[in-house]
Symmetry: C2
Subunit: 344 residues, 2 copies
Amino acid sequence: MRATVMYGAGDVRVEDVPDARLIEPTDALVRVTSAAICGSDLWPYKSMEPTPEGRRMGHEFIGLVEEAGADVRTVKRGDLVVAPFLWSDGTCVFCREGLHTSCLHGGRYGDPGVDGGQGEAVRVPQADGTLVALPVEANDALLPSLLTLSDVMSTGHHAALSARVGPGKTAVVVGDGAVGLCGVIASKRLGAERVILLGRNPARTALGREFGADEVVEERGEAAVERVRELTGGLGAHSVLECVGPDDAVLTAIGCARDGGAVGRVGIPEGDTIPGVHQSFFANLVLAGGPAPARAYIEELLPDVLEGTIEPGRVFDRTTGLDGVPDGYRAMNDREALKVLVEP
Amino acid sequence: MRATVMYGAGDVRVEDVPDARLIEPTDALVRVTSAAICGSDLWPYKSMEPTPEGRRMGHEFIGLVEEAGADVRTVKRGDLVVAPFLWSDGTCVFCREGLHTSCLHGGRYGDPGVDGGQGEAVRVPQADGTLVALPVEANDALLPSLLTLSDVMSTGHHAALSARVGPGKTAVVVGDGAVGLCGVIASKRLGAERVILLGRNPARTALGREFGADEVVEERGEAAVERVRELTGGLGAHSVLECVGPDDAVLTAIGCARDGGAVGRVGIPEGDTIPGVHQSFFANLVLAGGPAPARAYIEELLPDVLEGTIEPGRVFDRTTGLDGVPDGYRAMNDREALKVLVEP
């Protein structure tokens, strides 16, 4: 079959790989109908050391179950399913608490021996604990939005929950990437009274406004913090969603937070430490977040997507076949595309 | 009057200073009956740059109101009162939310123009928003415990709340100082199923056991983390109270936490950053805490002290007059005394 393999920074190839097939009786074989390139795929795209083996890429996908292992109970051949960006057993102590990202028997797509989502098919380990069957057809107009549940929409939701967004609160979203924009959706959905989006890409912030952002702040760093403080009576925001990752974005997020408020972090940390400890400590900020337990959130968010209440699929602004994946990486890395949908 | 002044690291003097007196109509003049030396006083004791003006010391005290300003409504001459370690107006948006440490019109004892608690008397600004009248006599046996409400017991409670201690949870307390020991009390009080105390001073950990610690871990750093993981089925603790401050203690705290758990920080940060970001991020830890809003907690904890349900005053293991304060600093710095009670 054909699949995407990264061999080093900037070196993404679509090539023939061994066909995906069941190995464990808990596996399901999923024929991918749509997949995505993730902002987090750009980290290795920028920095990966060259390797002759390469790494299979992609962790967001929807597909049709082609074959289910003997022990699989919850999905069957012919089901359209969405996969969260990590696989999980659904039964361990963490999965039962809804923290599937810490599953004791889970793992990542693309790890040695595991397929990636940017390919024709995927062997999904722990299918019962991982896959969620979708009550739509494979050509449904809702598919792009359903696909975001695998990662970006769930991650935006995690940022908002971690930042303790709720009714009557002001939320600041740091970053106008796909996750930040989903953070805007999630904040409005959780009842935020006011959402301020930090970003300066006109097309993205315009979409952010359509998603519900009340204000857009184009400034960065200290100037952004000042502007947010002006907009919040000098106090800062109750909830800040950090959707970028690098230290300067984290410092901006901390600076925008009101004393006693919360910063929900979903941007992958860049360094070894969290900056701004004196600011966060003396302001009694809560710092929370991490990888989103998308498996738990898919069930929570699915009704809203099916009803059309939220439309996170609008973050996709380019669609390509499998052969166009390398150029999709380039386009996202050059900020030419916001998020690329792949139809293998 | 006589009061404690620090002129630099290791240079603590008790000397004559101008008598405390009312300045604003919202002030109260409090004749100190008991005060304390705080672990946080040891930071300047270790590191303060020499200064000819000196700094007035002490922020934990109980005393009798000698005179109340014209606008003071809630305390009157003759009242025995306890002061939280910061003063606050009680009316601003943060005070109304119970976050008196972020009071828009509050401040610190010992700042220029404000007395310190380790002296004969204190002008307390914003008396209505700051002082809490105590329903006991000035010679009551409960006074040491009541005095801890001004800082250490409230701070231990803040650590426990920030670490989300609750019924059925395992709490780890990092540090066997007075705050850590109060964190043990607070954890049991909030219903922790099991409390593990990290410390190696036999007298202190013995007191910790009397306060309710189920286990004591004497190891430090990685060895302590390993031991805590052994004690918690490999998973770590739901709640970790970081009651020390330096980076190695914070790393230990993070290492002891269970995925999805919380670290409540009350130890004053040493560096500019929080270490261990990859551990805390990928484990979805909550990092919370800061200076304790003691003013809010005094009212919450007071009934338990008055009923004798908790006895945090047992952390005091030495009592001195005002002249003995410099030696009290030395004794605490040398870990010869756990916490020193001052009776001016």
